[in-house]
Amino acid sequence: MLDTQDDGYMTADGRKIGGVAMEMKNITLRFGGVVAIKDISFDIRWGEIRAIIGPNGAGKSSMLNVISGFYHPQEGDVFYKGFKRPRMRPYQVAQQGIARTFQNIALFEGMSVLDNIMTGRLNHMNAGFLKQALWWGPAAREEEENRAKVEKVIDFLEIQHIRKTPVARLPYGLKKRVELARALAAEPEILLLDEPMAGMNVEEKEDMCRFVLDVNDEFGTTIVLIEHDMGVVMDLSDRVVVMDYGKKIGDGTPDEVRNNQEVINAYLGVAHD
């Protein structure tokens, strides 16, 4: 997955970050008269964990929705793998290897955990439906391969004990994990996580952090993540974009961002005297 371009860098913990995978150029998104995103540009490099942070209503989720094709910006372009991306529907973006999770979990509630995760493999299945229905030749092999991949993801996220449980019965923290599993099953090149730790207790948060790091480490997946918990963000991410009122007010390593006056003002408020 790592780009051969040599403009990457090494992280302190020894991971190689590659060239630019995706670039946002002057993105502006409006809903009627409301401007959700104002002229924002930033890039995402192969292999990195890129966080987008900001106070409530800063436009973080809108940004993620632009990347995943759910929203279409009025101005600006998204460049993916060096090419300008035409206007795409969300399912086409997904087929390009960009998987995501949602802030308010979007799982198939009526289906079992296993079936939910299997839907992540839909784009990796090619056999004709007649063959699939009859469990015939290549279709059977394909289904087995896909099942094996899904089982690996299930093992990885430690959800073996709930594989046959209907998703609707699961507690919130596990649902979040199943959603991550479904996104991982697609073997994405870029994984978008919208507040993966929101509403979790400390233990669940720690688990989720570990999973995010492991995914990045083991599969080399590029991760874009939105998170409120500053501690989590600063620990996890390689680079951080800070948004406030739809504008970008900071961009850089966690340390750079932490010491940025504008960011401090946005989070702590400014004294008016």
């Binding site: 969300p90 399912y91 997904a94 198939f108 839907t119």
Partner: protein
Amino acid sequence: MPDTLLFAMEAALNGLTAGIMYALVALGFVLIFKASGIFNFSQGVMALFAALTLVGFQNGQIPFAHLINAVLGTRIHYFGWNMPTLLAIPATVAVMILFAWLVERIVLKHLVNQEPIILFMATIGLAYFLEGLGDLMWGAEVKRLDVGIPQGMSGAVDDLTFGWFGYGFYLDTLDLYALGIAAVLVTVLVLFSQFTKEGRALRAVADDHQAALSVGISLRFIWVLTWSIAGIVALVAGIMWGAKSGVQFSLSLIALKALPVLILGGFTSIPGAIVGGLIIGVGEKLFDFFMQPFIGGATENWFAYMLALAFLLFRPQGLFGEKIIERV
């Protein structure tokens, strides 16, 4: 064996076959409900329209003949050839797929993420539109539909039961064929929805549009696919009902009989539609047989709805429907 028991058995047998006919219509409803959560009011009319189109093709009728004649002052009605059934059926299937595509293009596309009640209203509109279109295209007279399925008393059943009980049961051959066709149809549909990726995608779309998009499923493709399959099921129902009682506009009303079938079987279960159909069919025939002396005839008009009502009290999700789980 006492005569009453034999007569009751015959009534039950005929109930089973009538139930299969109800189930054929109910199947179409289940398919669309499973895939989009829409109760498709126009399913009955789709069956009518498919049957009309099939007869029209077979007889070489010119579509919109009355309209053309009224506008141009001509007197054309038929092309003057007959299309063989084996050709007319695929042609009708093509028309139903085109219809599915148009429905997605013109109606559903604009109603993504709307409340189910809005979509339901849209299908009511669609039902009336399609009924009008069928009338305009092929004319309003009752037509005979013959696709080569033999009709009349089944001699084999008569002989067999005479040998067993000394009394031959009456069973229409057409109903026996309906049984076989329904069995094949259900098997194919169940295999499709449980074991193919399209089937899995279909269940996913039914559950959550947004999530389905995020795993790379095209909603539009799935909707066209579902409505096409529902159209083909409607054609099968249209053929069987049309062959039984002629292709006429009252066919669209059989859709109403499918409602209690769905309540019994569950709105989301394909085998449920069959089992529900059979229970309704047998139930209403036996009820009529035993209760007629006390409360008079024509119980078949209301028995199914009564049964459905009683069912709603005890098992609102139907026999095979998905139980709604709500965490509080």
